[in-house]
């Protein structure tokens, strides 16, 4: 039997063989140099992996606490006068959400009516339509939303001057911000449904991204000018991996503000709106990054 020959009969003295190159993990998050038990992953690293996977699964399946998030948002000094609107997609639960992306792109009937009603009242009391709708959507990681929403929006509103009825602002840099929409079981495109119903000029979606094994908390940002139901990704600009260990809040806010201003000036978004916020920064190929495998 060739299979029998495959197994060594002269074992090494130690069950776990360590790798001399383990220290390379100082230069990468990849799981290099784990060592081996025979040819298998050692117990310590097996269990660390299982924990990371468990956290990622929990990020997907833990329900967003919308009410608590709404309370926290209302306390911010930049908060719109109207309280956040709590909304839900047509995906009734997580299992449906995961299998029917089409349901996650549209608001359920109650939510749609809630928005339509707000929009109607707004148009009766104000001559100014909304410049920006902000949709905070659970997506695939409620953890990303709970952890990153406030710090990111605080950073964003250090750039944006929200226009408030209580103040007499006339500066053109001011933005008339719609009540923040918090959406459960939503996909990116639900922002278009919201934008359309609120008759907002553009929509910024904050959404929990698909969790990675070492990034269960990654927030994605999607900007659409004049979002309408049926728009594809080609109409959106995306900023990805917003989290403390990824794209930090100040940087994400700087990029988002750049795109918002460009969209407002050009009245468009998506593939025709190029993110040139980093144009002054050349890619530095010399910096520390080197192929040490060749001399």
């Amino acid at each position: 039997m060739s299979q029998d020959k495959s197994f060594p009969t002269h074992p090494h003295a130690e069950p776990v063989t360590k790798n001399a190159w383990r220290k390379l993990n100082a230069f990468t998050d990849a799981r290099v140099g784990l060592g081996r038990s025979g040819i298998s992953v050692p117990t310590k690293h097996l269990l660390a992996f299982q924990l990371a996977h468990a956290q990622a699964i929990d990020a997907v399946h833990t329900q967003l606490d919308s009410a608590q998030l709404a309370d926290a948002l209302m306390e911010q000094d930049w908060a719109p006068d109207c309280a956040p609107l709590l909304l839900h997609s047509r995906a009734t639960d997580r299992a449906t959400y995961l299998q029917r992306p089409d349901y996650g792109r549209l608001l359920d009937q109650t939510s749609a009516q809630k928005l339509d009603k707000h929009s109607q009242q707004h148009s009766q009391t104000s001559y100014q339509s909304y410049d920006l709708a902000i949709a905070v959507v659970d997506g695939l990681s409620s953890r990303a939303i709970e952890q990153n929403t406030l710090p990111f929006l605080n950073a964003l509103f250090s750039h944006i001057q929200p226009h408030k009825l209580s103040r007499k602002d006339t500066q053109k840099d001011n933005w008339n911000i719609a009540p923040i929409c918090i959406v459960e079981q939503g996909r990116v495109a639900i922002g278009d449904d919201i934008c359309q119903r609120l008759n907002a000029k553009c929509v910024l979606v904050l959404i929990g991204e698909r969790p990675g094994l070492s990034s269960p908390d990654s927030l994605g940002l999607y900007l659409t000018w004049g979002g309408k139901v049926g728009y594809t990704d080609a109409y959106r600009n995306c900023i990805s991996n917003v989290r403390p260990a990824g794209l930090v809040y100040q940087e994400a806010a700087r990029k988002a503000f750049y795109l918002l201003n460009e969209a407002r000036t050009l009245k468009l978004s998506g593939v025709t709106l190029k993110d040139r916020s980093d144009d002054e920064r050349v890619i530095d190929t010399s910096k520390e990054s080197e192929n040490f495998l060749i001399s």
Binding site: S2, Q3, K5, S6, F7, P8, H12, T17, N19, A20, W21, K23, L24, N25, A26, F27, T28, D29, A30, R31, V32, G33, L34, R36, I39, S40, V41, H45, F49, Q50, A52, H53, A56, I57, A59, V60, L98, Q99, R100, P101, D102, L140, R210, P211, G212, L213, S214, S215, P216, N241, I283, T285, E288, S289, E290, N291, F292, L293, I294, S295
Partner: protein, 469 residues
């Protein structure tokens, strides 16, 4: 009623009808979320079973007459029909789908016979028969389909399993990439290809990465090939600019509209293949293409023409085999739970894709993988890896600790490949196997025993990076 349904099947008091061949194929497909999302799946388990019985009675000839995607609209349909080999088809021309299953499982279908009929089998025939085969059937027949390819080493020999070393890094950091490459090579991985998914996808970056991998392959004289998984048009530009390109990559789908959404057509692939061949960089063979596929891509691009996702997938293999690839990889669990919901559906799809690819003559590998929003885990991957190893899968992926920190999904690790080698006695490509011995990475190639010490050739590099260790 009668003219609404091309196929009808009466069972007891009930009559089941199927509108056309596409409808019948879709409803005969083992259950999966993507077909439900597309609205083409059977409504009940009974309807699925009846559809399978009805499909089993369909003559293979019908697939040459009733085209699932119109000939005029789709260059892949034209490719399938125009290049169908009647002579190769002759030994199976009289069979129904059900009869084809029996024939494939029978001792008539020797490895030599399966090579002989290859060009007579269309993707739709392969897809149809797979729908009425159990997992063990898919494994048994795939194992009889031998597909050998070569570039700097020989891929796909019976009793062998190769690995793609996939040293992805979220910012394409060369030190990070080199660290993963070193890890992989010292775990005896990388004979299929060293292939990077670039984080920054443009010609300049692809060229940087191609040069980096070429430097390593030359420095250590590794009998393997490199690939940057960038768009085919980028790779053509890289070649024009003089980059040392080994393999040309492209993600491909099974309908022209899918490939339109990917931004390429068959002419682009022909141009790229010719460009790569002109470099003449292969030493033992000239297979210069690397394709990736995956069920669900056509629906995702709104380009499925009402077909089930597995039939669309099989049609992608017609594209692949036109260009004599070194490697074809079905990235089975990457697309997410809206197409393949859980470990069971991913496993089934992986075995179907491997079977259909092999039957059509492709060097079929599988990215045994899942995302964190799918109902799947490492145990599901262990199962699929083992099944594919038994089925004679050409290659799998290898990454450090199963964690792709750039693409954010989990695939097989360097360790996993060694597991499959030991339990199934599967060896790396022979040229690479000899290199592993020469470099002192394998202490015993028969028993897949790694060196307990750092092999001498790597001391200097590692010292420069981390000092005394």
């Amino acid at each position: 009623m009668a003219n609404q349904h091309q196929f009808r099947n009466q069972v007891g008091e009930r009559t089941f009808g199927f509108v056309d061949l596409a409808d019948l194929m879709a409803k005969a497909t083992p259950a999966r979320s993507g077909d439900r999302l597309a609205g083409v799946a059977a409504d009940s388990a009974e309807e699925r079973a009846i559809a399978q019985m009805t499909l089993a009675d369909v003559p293979l000839n019908l697939f040459l007459e009733q085209l699932l995607v119109p000939y005029e609209e789709d260059e892949i349909t034209r490719l399938i029909i125009d290049e169908h080999d009647k002579e190769a088809f002759a030994p199976i021309a009289h069979l129904t789908v059900g009869g084809f299953r029996d024939w494939l499982l029978s001792d008539i279908a020797t490895p030599a016979m399966l090579i002989k009929i290859r060009a007579g089998v269309t993707p739709e025939m392969a897809a149809a028969v797979s729908k009425i085969m159990r997992n063990q059937d898919l494994i048994l027949v795939a194992k009889k389909c031998h597909v050998k390819t070569a570039f700097r080493n020989t891929i796909g020999l019976p009793g062998h399993l190769s690995t793609r070393l996939q040293p992805n890094h979220p910012t394409d950091d060369l030190t990070g990439i080199a660290a993963s490459m070193l890890d992989g090579l010292l775990y005896a991985n990388g004979d299929a290809v060293i292939g990077i998914n670039p984080a920054t996808d443009n010609v300049q970056q692809a060229t940087n990465l191609i040069k980096m991998m070429d430097d390593v392959i030359q420095h250590y004289d590794i009998p393997t090939q490199s690939c940057v998984l960038t768009h085919v048009t980028n790779t053509i530009e890289c070649i024009e600019q003089g980059a040392p390109v080994d393999l040309v990559f492209q993600s491909i789908g099974g309908t022209q509209a899918t490939n339109d959404s990917f931004g390429f057509n068959l002419a682009n692939l022909a141009e790229a293949q010719a460009a790569a061949l002109s470099l003449n960089r292969g030493t033992v063979g000239n297979n210069v293409m690397y394709f990736e596929t995956g069920q669900g891509s056509s629906l995702s691009a709104n380009a499925n023409h009402g077909l089930d996702q597995q039939t669309c997938e099989a049609r992608a293999y017609a594209v692949a085999r036109k260009f004599d690839p070194l490697l074809v990889n079905t990235v089975v669990g990457f697309i997410g739970p809206e197409y393949l919901y859980d470990g069971k559906e991913i496993t089934r799809a992986g075995l179907e894709d491997h079977f259909c690819g092999k039957l059509l003559g492709l060097p079929m590998g599988c990215d045994v993988c899942y995302t964190n929003h799918a109902e799947a885990d490492q145990n599901d991957m262990d199962n699929l890896l083992t099944l594919l190893g038994v089925a004679g899968c050409t290659f799998i992926m290898g990454i450090p600790g199963s964690d792709d920190i750039m693409l954010n999904y989990q695939t097989t690790s360097f360790h996993d490949a060694l597991y499959a080698r030991r339990v199934l006695g599967l060896k790396p490509a022979p040229e690479f196997d000899a290199w592993l011995a020469k470099m002192d990475i394998f202490k015993n190639n028969e028993q897949f025993t790694l060196n307990h010490e750092l092999p001498d050739a790597f001391h200097q590099s590692l010292n420069r990076m981390i000092g005394g260790h």
